[in-house]
Symmetry: C2
Subunit: 226 residues, 2 copies
């Protein structure tokens, strides 16, 4: 567990805590480590959870697949990020989505009840972690609202522009790397892969952008549309 200390140090949940406090927190919240092979399910739609989880290694997708195999990716979880926190409190109901390892991954789970319980006399750093949790929830909230903004666009082109310019803003550059393959990007934007490919082709013809695998170059005319 201690080998992930550098991840925990950078983790929002533990921000402001010393190494010593992080270690005590891990014990206090009954932290458990588990590995998943790429493609394996970490959590399933319909599960009830009472743990807050941190991704220590690999990459995960929060996604959903319907009866006919149509997949839709809600979000992408990267190293150090927290997931499951919105469903960990009592009365939260069951998970709405599957969590799947996009690569071989290692997950650390913390008991939510113990994390939130005010054993404040012994663990003064709990209150810090609770504030951090509020930040994490608020941040995730804003991420979801941004994604709703992309999905609310009507056409495939508009969705692409909305997503790519948002990503460019975040990466502070018109030269961006995205965390998705083409199929995954289509699943994320809820459009057909081949239609999206077609649209990207047209945008390339119109010199709006250039693509090399997961790398996108957005040209200056691009911003006129966003």
């Amino acid at each position: 567990m201690e080998e992930y200390l550098d991840i925990f140090r950078k983790n929002f949940l533990f921000s402001g805590l010393s190494d010593e406090e992080i270690s005590r927190m891990l014990v206090c919240t009954d932290a458990r480590e588990k590995s998943y092979a790429s493609g394996e399910y970490v959590l399933r739609r319909g599960d009830t959870v009472s743990e807050i989880s941190i991704l220590a290694e690999g990459r995960l997708h929060i996604q959903r697949e319907d009866y006919w195999g149509n997949r839709s990716i809600v979000s992408d979880v990267r190293i150090g990020e927290v997931f499951g926190e919105s469903y960990a409190l009592p009365e939260s109901g069951v998970l709405m989505n599957d969590v799947v390892a996009a690569e071989n991954s290692i997950v650390i789970s913390l008991d939510c009840h113990r994390l939130l319980s005010p054993c404040s006399s012994s663990c003064p750093f709990h209150s810090r972690a609770i504030m951090n949790l509020i930040s994490i929830l608020a941040g995730k909230n804003r991420m979801l609202v941004r994604k709703i903004g992309h999905l609310s666009e009507r056409t495939t082109r508009e969705k692409l522009i909305s997503y790519l310019s948002d990503e460019a803003l975040r990466q502070k550059s018109g030269s961006i790397d995205i965390p998705f393959s083409r199929q995954q990007l289509a699943d994320y934007l809820a459009v057909d892969r081949s239609a999206m490919s077609k649209e990207l082709g047209k945008m390339r013809d119109e010199r709006l952008l250039e693509t090399h695998k997961n790398h996108f170059e957005l040209f200056s005319v691009f911003q006129e549309f966003s």
Copy 2:
């Protein structure tokens, strides 16, 4: 301010607090009341906020409108609900959406910093409110994920089915009232109003549902599709 006590009593943010504690909380967080006429902007995209707000009267829409007037409704805020909380912490960046009064409305704003500050010696109920805030954020998170589920459906019909069956589940009945006009429902599901009207007509012809203004009757065959 005291006249809204019954709303505060039912409010998630204050749940578990006595009337006395609620009153002290209102003072402690510098609560302010403001009225808005229907159609008036409560908050605007690009604003920075440091208050958590509660809707005491009326109804609000969290929405966004692009240059061409295409509106998209992110969510509907009802009496007693909290809004703005995800953008109230420092470092949250600017608001992504407008907040507009859908009816004449009254809003109470609480200073977020004071709400969260651990003046625990004098206000032991702060910690309770903080836990409540976590519940609210987690709940809103789940709401947004559900909405993403609706928007991720490909066709207008699938979006309608996804939304209506979710609403039926929530209202625990196939006979439901929705908080939107037709145009607003279209804006919420990010589809064209007339196309949606057409689709609702077809579904009526197929005896999947019946509509009377904002009231929907979902027939038993409906569930086969959801």
